[in-house]
């Protein structure tokens, strides 16, 4: 591997306050009971800021502010005016993209290359796309006079903090709802910086409220009687708990949950491109991706070749300082997640699969796990069934297309899948049979605000993106 000189992005573009309040009704306020927690950089374990933990009283205050804004301003505002606020937000995010990218990388641990080139541009694009829907809702296919739902409670994960915020807030606001959003406890900072974007855009107070906190804060939000809609992205376990909690209430719910995607490589696939797709599929964002291609299914006849080239490619991945522009693989988001990845990998060893990790030096501080593959994996192995949510790939083989479909669908999840082959008819044949909400053919991990994304089966229900994404926020 070539030696590269360090090329770190400067931290000076972002000012991190030592502590943050809750963003309620257009301003930052302290919590009712004064509880706080710290958010750290997972790459160094350095404390970045102290953040407020919202309790039930704060949730109530935020929902009340959102309700007032809904009744008095947002639901009655003409769509073309709402649109202009969203366009403003899209533009401000683009203008402050570098600031957001650096902050995201600091708080999350992901490589600056990804936050700069994927997360932040997509977040801005998401607002720009849905801005245009705000005054065109009667053309969205939900009747001539679709109505907003009211106050949306939104809970997002730590893997794509600002991007997930945009997936939630943009369609909700475009449709005329107001929101109370809770970012994940390990990655609250870009959501708090987004509050300042709302202020710069002169968004009416209460339209967007941001509550930091952990699971208990989320539970209070889900349980609040004046919330009309819950949108959640996260684990299947919590998704099921939310589905139970809203049962018997009028609350609407959409869930975007876990996955265990199959990435299927046929013997006629362009191997170099497929290897790039495999690497992107599982090592993008350290594998902290619900739609990650975490099960590789290779046709037996090319197994040896694919494995060999994959290992060679993995050996060139650069793991380290997420702020370095050369870095491919950043830090694991938290100690807790690192523990889970280690434990499941040890289960893989214990169950008889063979582990191979890219030879790379792990930094002394922070949370790190090398890009890793397991061969000799069977469908019964836990590493082939459970979502690891880390840079760990399980490799299985198949002989016939029918066997590939059978194995790919052999999971309670159904979020995404990949297919690599030069044969067009085979792509469509497979795409038809894969029980997954997104099928990437000869590509992987592509996202776009116009493109519906979401799962089959236990990967959740509802779609985000596109015209379909509006359905979650209209009646």
């Amino acid at each position: 591997m070539f030696e590269y000189a360090p090329a770190p992005e400067s931290r000076s573009v972002v000012d991190i306050a030592s502590s943050y309040g809750l963003f309620i009704n257009g301003g930052f306020v302290d919590s009712a009971d004064g509880r706080t927690f710290k958010t750290i950089s997972p790459a160094s374990e350095e404390v970045l800021a102290e953040v407020t933990e919202a309790g039930p009283a704060d949730v109530d205050a935020a929902v009340t502010a959102a309700r007032r804004a809904y009744d008095s301003v947002w639901s009655t505002m003409p769509g073309r005016e709402r649109a202009k606020y969203l366009y403003r937000i899209a533009r401000i995010l683009a203008e402050r993209a570098r600031e957001f990218a650096v902050l995201e990388t600091l708080d999350n641990g992901k490589p600056i290359r990804e936050s700069r080139d994927v997360d932040i541009p997509l977040a801005s694009a998401w607002f720009f796309y849905y801005a245009g829907w705000a005054d065109k809702l009667s053309y969205a296919g939900f009747g001539a006079y679709p109505q907003p739902l009211g106050v949306a409670g939104q809970i997002i994960p730590w893997n794509f903090p600002l991007m997930m915020l945009s997936w939630k807030i943009a369609p909700a606001l475009a449709a005329g709802n107001t929101v109370v959003l809770k970012p994940a406890e390990t990655t609250p900072l870009t959501a708090l910086l987004f509050a300042s974007v709302c202020q710069q855009a002169d968004l009416p107070p209460g339209v967007v409220n941001i509550l930091t906190g952990a699971g208990a804060t989320g539970q209070s939000l889900v349980a609040h009687p004046d919330v009309d809609k819950i949108a959640f992205t996260g684990s299947t376990e919590v998704g099921k708990a939310i589905a139970r909690a809203v049962a018997g209430t009028p609350k609407r719910v959409t869930l975007e949950l876990g996955g265990k995607a199959a990435n299927v490589v046929f013997d006629d696939a362009p191997i170099d491109q497929a290897v790039e797709g495999i690497v992107n599929g599982i090592f993008f964002n350290q594998g902290h991706v619900c739609c990650a291609g975490s099960r590789l299914l290779v046709q037996e006849s090319v197994y040896a070749e694919v494995l060999d080239r994959l290992k060679r490619r993995m050996a060139t991945l650069r793991l380290g300082d997420p702020l370095d522009k050369n870095t491919d693989v950043g830090a694991i988001n938290s100690r807790e997640q690192l523990t889970r990845i280690r434990e499941l990998s040890e289960v893989g060893d214990a169950e008889g699969a063979q582990r191979w990790s890219a030879p790379c030096e792990l930094p002394e501080h922070g949370f790190w796990f090398p890009p890793t593959i397991f061969t000799g994996v069977t469908q019964a192995h836990r590493i082939a069934r459970e979502e690891i949510f880390g840079p760990v790939l399980s490799i299985l083989t198949f002989r016939t297309p029918a066997e590939a479909v059978e194995k790919a669908n052999n999971t309670p999840y159904g979020l995404s899948a990949g297919v690599w082959t030069e044969k067009g008819s085979r792509i469509l044949w497979l795409a038809d049979r894969l029980r997954a909400g997104v099928v990437w053919a000869n590509t992987f991990n592509r996202f776009d605000p116009t493109s519906p994304f979401g799962g089959y089966k236990e990967s959740g229900h509802g779609r985000e993106g596109g015209r379909h994404g509006l359905a979650a926020y209209l009646r």
Binding site: G248, A431, G437, R446, S451
Partner: protein
Amino acid sequence: MSASERARLEVRKTYKLFVGGSFPRSESGRTYEALDSGGRFLANVARASRKDARDAVSAARKAFGGWSGATPYNRGQVLYRVAEMLEGRRDQFRSQLEAGEGVDRAGADEAVSAAIDRWVWYAGWADKIAQVHGSANAVAGPYFDFSLPEPTGVVAILAPRDSSLLGLVSVLAPVVATGNTAVVVSSYPRPLPAMTLAEVLATSDVPGGVINILAGDLAEVGPWLASHMDVNGIDLAGVEDPELAAAMEQAAADNLKRVLRPALPAWDVDDPGIERMTPFLEIKTVWHPIGV
């Protein structure tokens, strides 16, 4: 006295379940009395048990691949054929509605007409819903990207209690027109129109197992369907007890079933909309790069 002058004794029908294209009795051996609107005995009807519900789910699962894989044009034709045969059973449905729902002849006739027309309406959707509910997505990059609706899988339907034919058709037809297979629990007090529909289906081109009809108490059978891990969606239309509905919705969360909450809209509307089809459709998005 000649034979023709004697009052002829009617041959009564045994009302059984409809599972996998056959008419089994309940494995539990139980029956219950279906009464007319005045409380008089009409028939003994097989009363479905948990085991019957599970058999119906396996039949529906077995039928799913073929039905969802059939061309939408073919599904539309097969369902339209059902409507043709419903017309032929008009008198039977009418008298069952008169007896069961206590409506007069004209009212029953109207309900039968509306039910047949509704069936035709949904049959016509089979090959159109993809264009209305799918999309081509203008992504910002060199990719061809499209989204298509696909059936969710096996859907359990707890049919409305009062509207025993029009209500039944209004909840069943949208589920199967979109390529799902169904397990229906019919109206407990008024099961006969559902059983007559089963006879129509049995002699139609609808493959066995695509539609399974259980007569029985939804409070007894419904929870088993709600918690069944091989059921993908559940329509709680006919669950009138809010606590029971909430319990079933909770049970449905075990495998994240798609849930349509209880609703008893006016069934006799001109245009029922597409909102009973879309809850049991998944959107699949496919990406492919564009290049030479």
